[in-house]
């Protein structure tokens, strides 16, 4: 398992975390290259079904990050994201999704170093957890069953 | 409804007159008390000054005894005891872990369900409604209502009257026919537990309280706390010596004023 390099997708908002990750770059702080960023206007835009889509397509870990509470560019988008996340988390937990594979954090446009920390911590954790094969198995099985049941 | 009464140590000793007036009043207004069986001292200032856990355990035993005997409402005539009991109830409600620890210390179940009434609340609730029918003599005097510290503070815990310029005792006294004066010393401290150990401080503080009441032409100072009473009344010779004065304004328990 030592040469396992996890695939981590980061869903971030444009105004805080994306800008924070830009700052990590301008500060030349190094972090694991396993993470790839998808930009959204706001965490409020993030449909949590995308997380499932990402797992289904082979992601081993996911980061969701936006503005700190009260710092949202759109006033309250991150607040709604958080509220929906609380609901969704329970649902995912119920479905048997390994919540250790998801990092939810706030990284502001001024927190370049924090972004590197969040990425590195997530990658290290996912590396220990290994590839997320059980999700694929779970999906395959349910598809199988569905086919069987017609 | 069964009322419990927690007289506290002073009322069996130095404040015997207070105790007698409370019971006389209860009898006159046909209210029945049950003393909390085998009650102990609340620990007063000494306990919380020296040992926090003890200062919670002693009142907790009292409250647990009340619960055990089915006394949902407890009247506590002594303001100091009242404060200790309410504060204990508050602290243990706030911290379930502490509550368990104290239950273990007192070897009793403690739920914290009793309603604790101070003497003014008790008068307001049970005496005032039938006052007109029973009152013999109106108390037609100019009075300084002295609440002391522990009847109103800590305000957010006791949640009784307002901390500044409280009014409940003034209202009760007005209903008795008295004229309460505007009195800024209502909630100033009398020196409390320093009665014996620092009589000088008590003389100084209580002296100011008496001076202002006399200066404003009050006929009497009305109190609801045995400790305040003993400092303002029993310590009068010390006060007069300290301030080189000859104050002679009487200090009367609120229950005595009604009983007059």
């Amino acid at each position: 398992m030592s040469d396992f390099e996890p695939k981590v997708v980061a869903f971030v908002c444009n105004w805080c975390t994306y800008a924070g990750a830009d700052l990590t770059g301008t500060s030349r702080i190094k972090y694991a290259s396993n993470v790839k960023i998808i930009r959204f206007p706001c965490t409020g835009r993030i449909d949590f079904m995308l997380l499932l889509k990402a797992f289904a397509n082979g992601a081993d870990g996911i980061i969701v990050s936006g503005c700190h509470p009260n710092d949202c560019h759109y006033t309250s988008g991150n607040f709604h994201a958080k509220r929906r996340w609380i609901m969704f988390k329970e649902l995912m937990d119920f479905m048997g999704i390994d919540m250790n594979r998801i990092t939810f954090s706030w990284v502001s446009a001024a927190e370049g170093a924090k972004w590197a920390d969040v990425v590195n911590a997530t990658v290290t954790r996912i590396r220990e957890l290994g590839p997320y094969v059980s999700y694929k198995e779970m999906v395959d099985k349910s598809v199988e069953e569905e086919v069987k049941n017609g | 409804m069964k009322f419990g009464i927690y007289p506290g140590c002073s009322l069996t000793g130095s404040a015997r007159d207070y105790n007698e007036s409370v019971f006389a009043l209860a009898e006159a207004f046909e209210l029945e008390f049950t003393q909390i069986p085998d009650w102990n001292c609340c620990g007063a200032t000494a306990a919380h000054n020296l040992n926090k856990e003890l200062s919670l355990a002693l009142p907790a035993r009292i409250l647990a005894l009340a619960e055990k005997n089915g006394l949902d409402e407890i009247i506590v005539p002594c303001a100091a005891c009242y404060s200790r009991l309410v504060v204990t109830q508050h602290e243990l409600k706030k911290d379930p872990e502490l509550k368990n620890r104290i239950s273990e210390v007192i070897e009793m179940d403690y739920k914290g369900t009793s309603r604790i009434l101070n003497v003014i609340e008790w008068i307001d609730k049970y005496i005032i409604p039938q006052l007109d029918a029973k009152i013999v003599n109106q108390f037609r005097y100019k009075v300084a209502c002295y609440y002391g510290c522990l009847l109103v503070r800590p305000n957010k815990v006791l949640n009784y009257d307002r901390a500044e310029d409280p009014q409940t005792m003034d209202i009760v006294m007005t209903k008795l026919g008295a004229t309460p004066i505007d009195y800024p010393y209502k909630t100033e401290c009398c020196g409390a537990g320093f009665s014996i150990s620092r009589t000088d401080i008590v003389s100084k503080l209580s002296g100011k309280i008496i001076e202002d009441a006399e200066h404003r032409g009050a006929d009497a100072i009305i109190v609801a706390c045995p400790m305040c009473h003993s400092n303002l009344d029993m310590r009068r010779p010390d006060i007069n010596k300290y301030w080189k004065t000859e104050y002679n304004i009487p200090v009367i328990f609120v229950t005595q004023a009604i009983g007059q």
Binding site: S105 | C41, A46, R61, E107, V152, G193, M234
Partner: protein, 186 residues
């Protein structure tokens, strides 16, 4: 992650007050309203707001000054400071803690001897009888404080008025009370 999680371990008196009695010395902005309203401030060596300031420095010397002060024993727990504090700092609870620390570190101010002697006599009295035995208290206090002549004149008057019992009242649960004392004496 909030900023408060980045605290370093604090060994100061202010640090232990924060963890033990949930009073944050740093909240004090030195308005002095506590000292202004404190009935015994002018007798104190360190008025309450000065105690708060000394705590904020988190210097061992200053912590020591507080624990050796007369002030912490002069505080009458009238709660005026808390009642008027704009920052709602629970100074009375903090004072209780400081007194206990002062005793456990054997730093009690000499001038507070009488006050502590009285408190001890008070607790001694209820430890054995369950209730306060006022005459016993006075006698025990006199023994502890060596203040033999004080209030001698009051006693006969009080006894005659039935206000001072010659013998203590014992409650039934004295053994229970004794156990409570024992369990809480750490």
């Amino acid at each position: 992650m909030s900023h408060s999680e980045h605290h370093t371990e604090r060994n100061s008196l202010a640090g232990s007050i924060e963890s033990k009695v949930d009073v944050k010395a740093q909240k004090c902005y030195q308005c002095g309203k506590c000292s202004a309203g404190c009935p015994v401030a002018d007798d104190m060596d360190l008025p309450p707001s000065v105690v708060m300031r000394l705590l904020q420095t988190e210097q061992p010397d200053n912590d020591d000054r507080i624990l050796r002060s007369h002030s912490i024993w002069l505080c009458v727990t009238c709660e005026m400071c808390l009642s008027r504090c704009p920052m709602e700092i629970d100074i009375p609870s903090m004072m209780d803690y400081l007194r206990q620390r002062s005793r456990s570190e054997k730093k009690v101010n000499k001038k507070a001897r009488n006050i502590i002697a009285f408190h001890k006599s008070f607790l001694n009295s209820i430890r054995f009888t369950g209730r306060l035995y006022e005459l016993g208290l006075i006698l025990d206090y006199k023994r502890q404080s060596l203040n033999l002549t004080q209030d001698i004149s009051l006693a006969p008057k009080m006894i005659s008025r039935g206000k001072l019992h010659l013998f203590p009242t014992m409650i039934k649960g004295t053994a229970h009370i004794a156990r409570i004392f024992k369990k809480t004496s750490n």
